[in-house]
């Protein structure tokens, strides 16, 4: 604990989330995490797209890149490569990151830049008013699917683990204290960190409620070895584990990106331009 306090990240922007939304807990988690890690509002960039989760950085004082829907992971990688000193954190929804931006997500795991991606996974579309999302369970009844969702949900954690993602965690939005620790570990991890943040959507998702998440989640045992992918996949078979579930030691790509903010010098230019004679 040092330089920064939670109020240093305070914003005067009027909040537009529904009262009782899980996002409030996540916002507090983010502020507390940054303060505890001594990362100032000018040292972190929160990169988002469009939806309810992506409004998060407006409700705090921090460098903000609020780009296009589903493209937040692409932009975040550009930011990190241009200035690796910035602490780059993505906040997106299950629709943006796993649906619209699915391809960016896959290749960001491969690229393994030292960024953290927090997916607010409420298994429904909020801002567009209650359509199913890539993580909606089979049978979930929504306005656009009155007969219930008929295609299987994406399994983002299994997907990330199969791609040997550097860091994979799952959290439940109401558990602020535990989530600060998870988010700290994700930020401190040298590589691509995924935090799947389960949260209820109190307006559109009447199935996956606070109670439902409490009944269907469990905390990962301290005995669990996150480097054991087989054990991790076992862990995911039944209920939803909370905590750091998978890690993979590999070098972050940041160190290979050394020149992204430097100007070309005359000497180097003349060396190349002169080679055509």
């Amino acid at each position: 604990m040092g330089k920064y306090k939670e109020e240093d990240y305070k914003s005067n922007v009027e909040n537009a989330w529904c009262p009782g939304c899980g996002n409030f807990g996540i916002l507090n988690t983010v502020k507390q995490t940054l303060a505890e890690l001594d990362i100032g509002p000018h040292q972190a960039v929160i990169c988002t797209g469009i939806g309810q989760a992506p409004k998060l950085p407006h409700y705090m004082k921090v460098n903000t890149f609020n780009g296009l829907h589903g493209r937040e992971v692409a932009s975040a990688q550009g930011i990190k490569m241009a200035n690796p000193e910035l602490e780059v954190i993505v906040h997106g929804g299950d629709g943006g990151i796993y649906g619209e931006g699915g391809n960016h997500f896959l290749h960001a795991i491969r690229r393994n830049l030292n960024i953290t991606v927090v997916v607010h996974d409420n298994r429904i579309y909020g801002l567009t008013k209650g359509q199913p999302s890539p993580t909606s369970e089979l049978g979930l009844v929504t306005g656009i699917k009155p007969e219930g969702v008929q295609i299987s949900p994406l399994k983002p954690l299994e997907l990330a683990i199969s791609q040997e993602c550097s860091f994979v965690a799952q959290a439940f939005s109401a558990n602020i204290k535990e989530n600060v620790e998870i988010l700290k570990a994700a930020i401190l991890n040298e590589g691509f960190s995924l935090v799947n943040m389960l949260q209820p959507c109190i307006t559109w998702n009447k199935v996956n409620t606070y109670k439902w998440f409490r009944d269907n989640t469990f905390k990962v045992d301290s005995e669990h070895d996150p480097y054991d992918s087989r054990a991790t996949l076992e862990l995911l078979k039944d209920k939803l584990p909370l905590g750091i579930i998978y890690k993979n030691k590999k070098e972050a790509y940041d160190s290979k990106v050394a020149r992204a903010r430097v100007f070309c010098g005359k000497e180097g230019f003349n060396k190349i331009a002169g080679s055509f004679g």
Binding site: G78, A82, F269, I272, A273
Partner: protein, 562 residues
């Protein structure tokens, strides 16, 4: 005086390498050279050619005439023989009983490996051009440096071919002496090379792109030279990634570039609109090829002008530039980076396959002639501010620029309509003011709008209007027709957008006749010019086959129309 040499063969036979060696060698020997290629979208086989002009005067346009045909395959021979002039000669790697032309048979050399035929043909041309054998040997040694295993067979082939060509009288009759006044230490380089060097001089530091012909050479070059030119090149998994990645990099302080062709730009349009809204500087290269859809991937067109100007939803200021030749690919590209940052806008550089892939003898590019100015506030200036507003309302619409991490002030950008702090807003009043701020930039940008370049512009004579790379053929035809007593004014646009309302109207109205030429199926350029000048053109010349305009085609066409 010039010699037109066409090297034809299948993909994979080394005609590109032979063409490059000849271009470099002739440039070093004092000639002005220009080459363009005609290639199929395949890696092996088919019929490709490289057409080389070796001249005593600067040349920069494609021609149809062939004085020396080098044929390394039978289909290459058959498809180009009709272009060979009456006293033209043939250098052939295949049987040619029926050609009826004086022929240098590469088969009569004591060579077993046919892969060196291209180089042997270059040796024959060197002999015709009176280039000394040691000069040729020197360039071969440079070319095969580090590949000693194949150096010897190439040197041997060149010496044999050169020696035998010395007594080939029909070939020697085509001899051409280098000009007295030539380029000093001239360089031999392509439009793709010049574009990459222009980007470097303009300060590019981050590139994200997805490969697509004919734009790929830009990312390839910058990647090869990334160490010397201080640039990071990231191959993105899609054009959508590329554009959103460079937008992020630009926000974080990089000078960013992405390069693509029309189809890739289609995928980028949402991201272009994003950069317009968040006002991050960005340069986008569109190397045009014929569409729609996949079209002719390795061929040329000017069909994406309107798309470059309008692509992206909503209104936002942007600049569209079009280099006219390889030298412009350097100067205009570097200028694009300056404009992008100065006005915090996307700048699109529209080139095409002809311009990217053609090569020319040029003077060395001057790094010091390019502005290295940067526009962001300094750290000291920033720390004096109580708050930093990324979108502060200003008279010229351009807000002070700063990067995240540069000072203690956070930098907030948003693709939603936003207030001066960068936070999303629903306020009607702020929305209007912010839209007006962005719109004011357009007026500011128009102050940078350059008058088009013109040659022999005067009232009362016909005026021919072109844009971008179509400049080359018309510029040459103007000189040729002048010698025949036919005069016209030639005007070429490189600054394509934005254009002021009364743009060039007076000059068009004062011409005795107006002709507009564009390499497109549609009438993008003509309709744009009509829109801004309210002028009806008397004639329009277009092209639909993906092949470049040739000097001969345009000469015939213009003679008829004038």
């Amino acid at each position: 005086m010039e010699l037109n040499i066409r090297l034809s063969g299948a993909a994979g036979q080394g005609i590109q390498t032979a063409n490059d060696i000849l271009g470099k060698l002739a440039t070093r020997s004092g000639y002005f050279c220009y080459s363009f290629n005609d290639a199929e979208s395949r890696i092996r086989g088919g019929i490709n050619f490289n057409h080389m002009r070796v001249s005593t005067l600067p040349v920069s346009a494609p021609r149809e005439r062939v004085d020396i045909l080098i044929a390394l395959s039978s289909p290459g021979l058959e498809s180009n023989l009709s272009k060979l002039v009456d006293n033209g000669v043939l250098i052939s790697g295949v049987k040619t009983e029926t050609a009826g032309k004086s022929t240098f048979e590469l088969g009569s050399l004591d060579i077993t490996n046919k892969k060196v035929y291209g180089l042997a043909a270059v040796a024959v041309v060197s002999s015709i051009l009176n280039i000394a054998l040691p000069d040729l040997e020197k360039i071969i040694k440079e070319q095969f440096k580090g590949k000693e295993s194949i150096l010897d067979i190439n040197l041997d082939a060149a010496r044999q071919a050169y020696s035998m060509a010395q007594s080939w009288t029909e070939g020697a009759a085509l001899s051409l002496n280098p000009p007295k006044e030539s380029l000093q230490q001239g360089k031999w380089l392509s439009g793709g090379d010049a574009f990459a060097l222009g980007a470097a001089a303009g300060g590019v530091s981050f590139v994200a792109a997805y490969p697509m012909s004919p734009a790929t050479s830009i990312m390839t070059n910058l990647s090869h030279w990334s160490k010397e030119l201080e640039v990071h090149v990231e191959q993105a998994e899609s054009e959508v990634t590329a554009i959103n990645m460079v937008a992020g990099a630009s926000y974080a302080g990089a000078r960013a570039l992405t390069s693509t062709s029309g189809g890739g730009f289609a995928l980028m349009t949402e991201g272009i609109s994003l950069t317009g809204m968040i006002e991050t500087p960005l340069v986008v290269a569109i190397a045009q090829r014929p569409g729609p859809a996949t079209g002719l991937p390795t061929r040329t067109a000017q069909g994406d002008l309107r798309f470059a100007i309008h692509g992206g939803h909503g209104f936002f200021p942007r600049v569209v530039l079009a280099p006219k030749n390889i030298n412009d690919n350097f100067t205009i590209t570097s200028e694009a980076f300056d404009l992008a940052e100065k006005y915090q806008i996307p700048v699109i550089v529209l080139t095409d396959q002809l311009l990217q892939d053609s090569k020319q003898s040029l003077k060395n590019f001057d790094f010091d002639s390019i502005s290295q100015k940067r526009y962001q506030l300094s750290r000291e200036e920033l720390e004096k501010l109580d708050v930093y507003q990324r979108y502060r309302f200003t008279d010229d619409g351009v807000s002070p620029l700063a990067y995240p991490g540069q000072s203690s002030h956070p930098v907030v950008v948003d693709s939603d309509e936003h207030d001066q702090d960068g936070h999303l807003t629903e306020s009607a009043e702020i929305s209007k003011k912010m839209a007006e701020k962005r719109h004011r930039k357009l007026k500011t940008i128009l102050q940078s709008c350059k008058k088009p370049e013109s040659w022999n512009l005067k009232p009362g004579i016909p005026l021919v209007l072109t844009w971008g790379s179509t400049w080359g053929v018309v510029n040459e035809v103007q000189k040729r027709l002048e010698k025949q007593g036919i005069e016209f004014a030639h005007v070429n646009l490189s600054w394509m957008w934005p254009l002021p309302a009364d743009f060039f109207r007076k000059e068009l109205e004062q011409a005795s006749k107006t002709i507009i030429i564009e390499h497109s199926v549609g009438s993008e350029f003509e309709s744009l010019m009509r829109e801004v000048t309210l002028h009806d053109f008397d004639h329009a010349v277009r092209k639909m086959d993906g092949r470049p305009f040739g000097v001969e085609d345009i000469e015939v066409e213009l003679k008829e129309l004038l």
